[in-house]
Symmetry: none
Subunit: 279 residues, 4 copies
Amino acid sequence: MSMKLSLNTWMYSSFPVWVPAYTLDETIKRIAGIGYDGIEIGAAAPHAYPAHLNKERRKEIKKLLDDSGIAVSSMLPAPGGGPGFNVASPLVEERQEAVDQYKKVIELCSDLGGPTVMYIAGWQIYGTPRIQAWNWSREALSKIAKTAADFGVMLVVEPTPTDSNLVESCDDAIEMMEQVGAKNVGLMFDTQHAYYRNEVPTDYVYRMDKDLRHVHLSEFGRLPPGAGRGDFVGLVAALRKIEYKGYLTMEIGFNRRDVEPDLVARQAYDYLKPLVSKK
Amino acid sequence: MSMKLSLNTWMYSSFPVWVPAYTLDETIKRIAGIGYDGIEIGAAAPHAYPAHLNKERRKEIKKLLDDSGIAVSSMLPAPGGGPGFNVASPLVEERQEAVDQYKKVIELCSDLGGPTVMYIAGWQIYGTPRIQAWNWSREALSKIAKTAADFGVMLVVEPTPTDSNLVESCDDAIEMMEQVGAKNVGLMFDTQHAYYRNEVPTDYVYRMDKDLRHVHLSEFGRLPPGAGRGDFVGLVAALRKIEYKGYLTMEIGFNRRDVEPDLVARQAYDYLKPLVSKK
Amino acid sequence: MSMKLSLNTWMYSSFPVWVPAYTLDETIKRIAGIGYDGIEIGAAAPHAYPAHLNKERRKEIKKLLDDSGIAVSSMLPAPGGGPGFNVASPLVEERQEAVDQYKKVIELCSDLGGPTVMYIAGWQIYGTPRIQAWNWSREALSKIAKTAADFGVMLVVEPTPTDSNLVESCDDAIEMMEQVGAKNVGLMFDTQHAYYRNEVPTDYVYRMDKDLRHVHLSEFGRLPPGAGRGDFVGLVAALRKIEYKGYLTMEIGFNRRDVEPDLVARQAYDYLKPLVSKK
Amino acid sequence: MSMKLSLNTWMYSSFPVWVPAYTLDETIKRIAGIGYDGIEIGAAAPHAYPAHLNKERRKEIKKLLDDSGIAVSSMLPAPGGGPGFNVASPLVEERQEAVDQYKKVIELCSDLGGPTVMYIAGWQIYGTPRIQAWNWSREALSKIAKTAADFGVMLVVEPTPTDSNLVESCDDAIEMMEQVGAKNVGLMFDTQHAYYRNEVPTDYVYRMDKDLRHVHLSEFGRLPPGAGRGDFVGLVAALRKIEYKGYLTMEIGFNRRDVEPDLVARQAYDYLKPLVSKK
């Protein structure tokens, strides 16, 4: 069976660099046009900041997705920036707003037919002991998981050492998942973050095993798969071994203003499609 | 007379990279400890996202600033990320939220005793004609200027070609200011953005002249002044010629995770203090 | 008061590269000759593998140290290589041998008049959950701490993310120390490891505070302080603020065969001596 | 006849870098799974430090090897690190321990069904004349060869100029072999070491001729064959000419923490298998 390919939208959005930026409608059409099975929509303006999208607009987007023959593989909030959305912030106001934002993203994801929302566990601000930051994050995840359960959405904990300092490794993510102990909390990993730690992505596959519900593909530095030294042949083989059924989502190209989104999207697709199509 | 030196807080915040990050209290103490006269506070978590700071907390911050002998030189919103705050967005919801956010930043700035808020004119999303984006931005600035006037706050329009595509040049900023025609709307520029366009910073000084109310200093790539090829001797001389009375604010180091904020802050101060102290 | 400078011996030893290598006698004389107050002796052949040094030889070394006017600041085992000495190994035989080796190093350190032995918390082998590796390491440290107490030796836990995957951060080290809860277990950090994580060394100083008992200085890549971008001016200032009383030990140059040990030792000394001598 | 391919285990071990590291069982399964005929087991923790493996464990390993359809091509000690195992050390204690360690490795190799143990002739410590170091090494080899004969194991002398300074060249190895004059002492070479000296690997083949009993393949810098400038086509042809019957063993990838062992192992295999399979 062929694995499904998805593309994250940051590269077409204003996160974290402001330009280039395309409307969500334009982005959906382009990604579907390249051939992707799924789209991972970042909950950021001008695409999908929940507070900016009323019910009517959500229906429009859902219709466009259906008409374009592409599914929402997943959604994620946009941590950092103004509101922060750091679930481990020392400011109670920020933690509360972060939890609320996750709930809004879950609802939006559900409205668009998506099954999965990523959980970014936050980061320690200087002065907060790690154990305190960890506990805040765990408490947030517990609350968010309940809302997600109501909407039938799976949450996946992602190690993000490239950008943060709280859930950094495969084991950190497993520990967070186990401490929360909710049926709809699973795991994911991103090859970029594994490379940042000089670790081996297939180790993540075998360690996460049946709890692995989502995967991000990227060469180091957010280059498209095939443009670096990443072993995506080995990775796909390992995913087949554990009978992985989720999407392979490219999270690429979004870290530089001079990106050509269509080019990078196509390069990743052209490299991976034959790999995932092999019997 | 010696010119006043100020430091922007992004480098100590979670914008746009998430770590390192310090609390605002810690940041104020450190910047004051190095010797800066002023602090430019970015309106981002965990420092100063307006919605996160109640009246009591604002008084605490004001007291800490006073006790530390440092003034708020200026504030600015955190464009991009989740809510976008792009005043030129094709989404009416985003434009409205951006205007509201500016008003909140102005109020917060006033609460902290600051005289100046920067105006980032937004950016074109693919599909929006420039004239349309421009008009939306101008309308936003007009509205924001009224609120600023109520609070006695000056707005300064900044060309930001490094990150955006709407107000890119000295002339764009002048044109925007003139079209709005409000007494409390002036100009600023950032040497990084001038270098991005391969332009000469002193040209900005002489062109903006009496309307120049705020200046950002940075070597290309957000290195501290003195670490690159920037001609800050010439720049200070030009500013003296036009009898510039505002702050020289360092906006540096915030674009990379591996920054040591105290080091960069000190390097900039140690390089500039003698320059601005000369008679 | 001037802070004391010490030099680690790896660069003159056969660890981890085999050449250049000098006898311990030669190494002591050279390091003392440059002006260092202390020497940190790695417990590796041909210098100081405990099993290779009988009582008589230890007395000879002690006398040479005294005659040369240099003190043993600290010792550490040589993890990795044949016996591994990984206190978190899945092999019970290796864990036991590692604990025994630490005890031998402590005795040797005491014989040579040294006050401090470093604790390298080991690393996870694929297949061992982190919590299991952590517990093995914590149990080992508890046992070792008792022996150290008998010899009046302080153990210092070091985060070593550059090489390992168990105690990676400031908080990991603090947590390990607190879980063991022995009076003679404190903390240390190495600037190289902080830089590897893109973190700020002074954050370690303030967080570890009174528990900070030992410090390793190195530019990223094991270059001598002053040869890179490290902020050792800021670091020394922070150490003064917390009234640090331990050694500043250079652990440099040992990662490449083409090193000239005397050169690198001298460069570090010449750069740091004026910094630590300032009032 | 097709030549047999083998893979050295350092890359999956904690030597000399500590991570990534896999258990020996995992390593055997992976290497066999890729298709290798043989495995060269380094005598280092956590794989095969002799003191860590009791008789029962050795039988388990042997069974796993047989079940996996892979043979032990060879073993080697882990020189350097704590105990040094430098047969040319000025410390009599270290020399004695090195000889003992070789004997233990030979016994282990025999227990696992391996025919060959590599001899690393040690290195000069500053202050030891070369002739003295040479004689110590020769005496050690003579003793070790007797034990090897008892176990039916062949010893092969390897020039290792990349890391040492005693047996550096083809002629040094030949001279050492001839001075010892034992039937079970032969020769080997490693292309990495030949490239380090800017020499031609096929020169080693023809010079060593019938005494050549083992070969290490590696591009310069420990890259897998095919990833650099090495002429492995010519090398295989030369080996056919002298009717070489031993293994071609990859000793690659182990010098960097960011290696993906499976990837490098597969790249080397995929490149070499067609070359050695040609008639």
